[in-house]
Symmetry: C2
Subunit: 141 residues, 2 copies
């Protein structure tokens, strides 16, 4: 069995992206495992809109979570995973149906506790930003 | 034209729920407009899962946003809406595919700035909790 981490097998196209990432229309643009940073694209869909016709904030939060997740995942070893403990999102302006770009990075990679940050852009305007805390755990086998 | 706020027309079944709420499988269980509190049900779907098979944290954040939103919306007048400024979510335990219940309330309804809180349960276990800040605005007509 291939011992590379799940994340890298997704990037290599050997495995499909997780269902949540697929629902958000994820596409990887750039990955720097050494720096722990990623740039990803999402699709803001009609199914994510609020009564004003904008993308509901919670779905922008889901995109930011799925930007920081891969930034950390790129640094994980086989058999490790890193659930999010806390996610704090600020909403700067409305996002409409269409493409969004997430830029995320690992701020500090501790022994197990990790601090992450990300921003979400639409047409180069900042629409939301986030900070998160995650913890690296060993998968139970 | 009916002058009741969008929210109440959804509750009355006169309008469909917003697309984002529909995607999350929202169903209203209880609404107390005077207290500014609601209890809502969501469907944690396969399409929201992470590689571990649990509901991705971002989608739990979206559910919490859609629990606090209606709690505040129940207090709004015709022509008002209340975008979220900040959403802070803590994840207490994994949630699996299936039903989730959100309990949300308005902590303080200021002249325009509002503070909200909510918890998300699965099989009566607390899976995530959130605090949010929102601002009441007049819809541009």
């Amino acid at each position: 069995m291939d011992k590379r981490a799940f994340f890298w097998r997704v990037i290599a196209g050997e495995l499909p992206p997780p269902r949540a990432a697929e629902t958000l229309g994820i596409r990887f643009i750039q990955i720097d495992a050494e720096a722990g940073s990623v740039e990803v694209e999402f699709q803001g869909r009609q199914e994510f809109t609020n009564p004003a016709g904008n993308i509901q904030g919670g779905f922008l939060a889901a995109m930011l979570d799925d930007t920081m997740g891969p930034a950390l995942a790129a640094t994980l070893k086989e058999g490790e995973f890193a659930p999010t403990l806390n996610l704090n999102v600020s909403f700067h302006r409305p996002a409409v149906v269409g493409k969004l770009v997430g830029k995320g990075r690992v701020i500090k990679r501790g022994k197990d506790i990790c601090f992450l940050a990300a921003e979400l852009y639409q047409s180069e305007d900042l629409v939301a930003s986030a900070a998160a805390t995650a913890v690296v755990r060993l998968l139970q086998t």
